[in-house]
Amino acid sequence: MRRTFLIATNTLKEASRQKLMLLLALIALVLVASSNYFLKLDIGHERLKFVFDFTSGALGFFGSIIAIIATCQIVHSELENRTATTLLSKPVGRLGFVCGKAFGVFAALAIFTAVVAVAGTSMLAYTYISFGESAQKLSQGLTINYFGVSVFCFVQWLRLCTIASITTLVCTLSSSLLFSAVISFAIMAIGMIGSAIEFFGAKENFASQLAGIVFPNLQIFSVAETFAFEEVSLKIFAMCSAYAVIYIAVCLCLSAFAFSKREF
């Protein structure tokens, strides 16, 4: 357990040194911080919802990219630099190694989510204060639920952790960083828009049904968006958490299994 913790700590340090991840996080943060400015461009949306959408977008769009790229870079750098071989020659189990790496990425994602959540909540509060009572009128009676916003951010973090776990599994199976990234993005796309395909007239077949069962449905996490302006449903929150935790646990166990079959 201690060794896993040490690997996770080092992975977090490694992740914080990744320039691409820092750049993406910075862009996301700047966009969230400037959401109030972008209100000038808005046509017809509820004001508070528009500002909140920037937080949701930063976590959904940039968060997903960070989760995939960071995981791919961290796992493949270990394999390419042969540091994984050195680590595994010590009394560190495959599961401990995989979990350590994944937990490090989860911690980095938690920091990203927390920073975006604080910036987003501040912008919501600022918009509400700067527009006074009219903010609510311009938002068609929407009221901010700050606790709901934090629950939403937590659910989005779970979603990012699920993406990172799947990416870890893909990385342990492949030997190329580019291949891992492409496949991970493809799986993410299936998880995001897979259920929408039938709306375009595509007939459901065995392959689509199989994909729907094998890959997690990442769209279900967007259900938490309602928490920002409505009451938090603990039942829904618990179900989202359970769904993510089960997938994360299974993916990490399978990653350890795939890692054990890998030749160095």
């Binding site: 046509i43 919802k49 769009f61």
Partner: protein
């Protein structure tokens, strides 16, 4: 055999475990999907062309992207380019079908602006009122189809229903549809006086005098004491009562 054991079996094991996991947590997934779409029927989602769902990868940036699409439609509007304007408006709607303004304004542009652009485009010798009425009706029907899609996502929405009624009346002379649009709005306890007034006029126009009298009496109880509307409504109620008597005698 060794090849299968070394190369194929790990992948097969992973797929089987993921499949088993997927099947085991299917009930949780279904409950969450049902919760997500509990307020929106499958038909409504189809109506919005599965819209927001497709752009799910954009996350919350959908609203910003839809704004840019709408601005593009304004540029096409200034150029009086109907097909480009319509496709830009459709894109804005697809990106953010939750925005009522997009549905409402897209329908208004389709019903009230496009007919004029089409009419001007035809040869001056061929222009006449009949042709203009036909063009107006065609775009009116198109706008109503668009609003019906919006109403599936935003049922009973005040702005969309009043817009539909306006288009039905001005483009299609369809007072029955207009009455149907105002009916749910007028039935609300806090319905504004002007909505009741319009519903009252539509009922009179469609020959539903008994119903119109009831609505007229409601206007008299809800209108302010010094409202200039009172004598007009009172006179119209009297006329409606006379017409109702005539109809009953004929029967």
């Amino acid at each position: 055999m060794d090849f299968f054991k070394e190369k194929i079996s790990p992948y097969l094991t992973i797929v089987i475990v993921l499949l088993f996991t997927g099947i085991s947590i299917q009930p949780i997934k279904n409950k969450l999907i049902n919760y997500n779409t509990s307020t929106i029927s499958v038909e409504s989602l189809k109506a919005a062309i599965g819209a927001g769902v497709v752009f799910e990868t954009l996350g919350g940036y959908k609203s910003l992207a839809s704004d840019f699409a709408w601005i593009k439609s304004y540029v096409d509007w200034t150029r009086k380019d109907a097909p480009a304007c319509l496709s830009a408006m459709e894109l804005a709607i697809s990106l953010d079908p939750q925005s009522v303004m997009f549905w409402k304004d897209a329908a208004a542009i389709t019903a009230f602006d496009f007919p004029h652009w089409s009419y001007i485009a035809i040869s001056p010798n061929a222009r006449n009122n009949k042709i203009f009425a036909r063009i107006k009706a065609r775009y009116g029907r198109e706008a109503i189809r668009l609003l019906d899609r919006g109403l599936l996502l935003h049922p009973q929405n005040f702005d969309l229903l009043t817009q539909k009624a306006n288009i039905a009346m001005s483009n299609l002379n369809d007072f029955k549809t207009a009455e149907e649009c105002y009916e749910p709005l007028a039935k609300k306890a806090n319905a504004p006086i002007y909505v009741l007034r319009r519903y009252f006029s539509l009922l009179l126009k469609n020959g539903k005098f008994a119903q119109a009298i009831k609505v007229g009496e409601r206007i008299l109880t809800e209108a302010e004491a010094d409202s200039p509307l009172r004598p007009i409504i009172s006179n119209q109620i009297l006329s409606a009562k006379k017409l109702l008597e005539k109809v009953e005698i004929k029967k």
